[in-house]
């Protein structure tokens, strides 16, 4: 799977985040071949192909969907990166092809 066009987005939802809204949104992001990196009080932080931005941003639950990035000088940047990497690893399956290097697929 090619992750070249993937970017990180923070999504906030209309009327505040609830467990149900969070689940619905996460399912929709997964349907759009996105990945859930972490969930904050404001909403989930996801990795999504740029081409599918409009699709997710147009979801009725979405209030704001803004591109974000990691600031390595942040106070907890390393911890954030670890959390995101761990969550991503649970959603990406590593398949080792015969006679070649492992290739990530979803």
């Amino acid at each position: 799977m090619n992750l070249e066009g993937y970017r990180m987005y923070l999504i906030t939802v209309h009327g505040g985040l609830t467990d149900e809204k969070s689940r619905d949104l996460q399912r929709f992001v997964r349907q759009c071949e996105g990945f859930i990196l972490m969930v904050t009080r404001a909403g989930p932080i996801v990795a999504l192909d740029e081409g599918r931005y409009s699709l997710v941003a147009g979801h009725p639950l979405v209030e704001l969907m803004g591109p974000v990035e990691l600031n390595p000088r942040g106070f907890a940047a390393q911890q954030l990166q670890s959390i995101m990497a761990e969550n991503l690893s649970k959603q990406v399956e590593i398949v080792e092809p015969v006679g070649g290097d492992p290739a990530p697929t979803s």
Binding site: R7, L10, T12, T40, R41, A42, I45, L64, G66, P67, V68, E69, L70, N71, P72, R73, G74, F75, A76, A77, Q79, L80
Partner: protein
């Protein structure tokens, strides 16, 4: 009006200034919308706080020894004590909004003008001679005809297409929008002040 003048008029008819203006206005509107979205994201990141626990202390101490079938299996107590929680915003923690900028814009106008002039002429000349001769008279008639036919055909067509292409690239956030973090470390003497953005 000559053909050259027609082509020139058609080229001049391309609304180039309007196209440039429309593109510039679309870019300006797009840039404003993008900046607004980034600033809104920045606001959310700055207002979303969580409790960050930078340290967890684990104290290992001797404890009672349990035995299973006469074999000691433990003998320590581990006490876990989380350190003081630190309220942090997502912005402080290390998430920043992405900012985009239109870096390059191209307007490409293609025109295909073709003109064709064809002239066709037909010329026909004919002579007919008739002569009669008798005993007391002789006569002759000569008749001729000239036909000249000419036709000019003009065809002219102009086709145009235009392409507007613009490039959008992520850029570092504007310095005046992002807050500067001033850290005062009072654990050392004298206190150490560091600035970071």
């Amino acid at each position: 009006m000559g053909l050259g003048a027609t082509v020139g008029a058609d080229l001049l008819a391309v609304p180039f200034p309007k196209m440039v203006f429309d593109l510039a206005r679309a870019i300006a509107n797009g840039q404003t919308a993008l900046d607004r979205a980034s600033v809104s994201t920045l606001r959310v990141l700055a207002n979303t706080e969580f409790d960050y626990i930078p340290e967890i202390t684990e104290v290992i101490a001797p404890g009672p020894v349990d035995t299973v079938s006469g074999v000691p299996v433990t003998g320590v107590d581990v006490t876990t004590r989380p350190g003081r929680t630190l309220p942090l915003s997502l912005l402080q923690a290390g998430l920043t909004p992405s900012f985009y900028q239109f870096t390059e814009s191209v307007i490409e106008v293609k025109m295909s003008i073709s003109s064709k002039v064809s002239t066709q002429s037909e010329f026909e000349f004919g002579v007919s001679v008739e002569a009669n001769a008798g005993f007391l008279f002789a006569s002759a008639t000569v008749s001729s005809h000239v036909d000249y036919r000419t036709s000019n055909t003009y065809s002219y067509s102009a086709e145009g297409s235009s392409l507007l292409r613009t490039t959008l690239k992520p850029v570092p956030p504007p310095a005046r929008i992002m807050p500067r973090f001033i850290t005062v470390n009072t654990l050392v003497s004298p206190p150490q002040v560091t600035f970071s953005e």
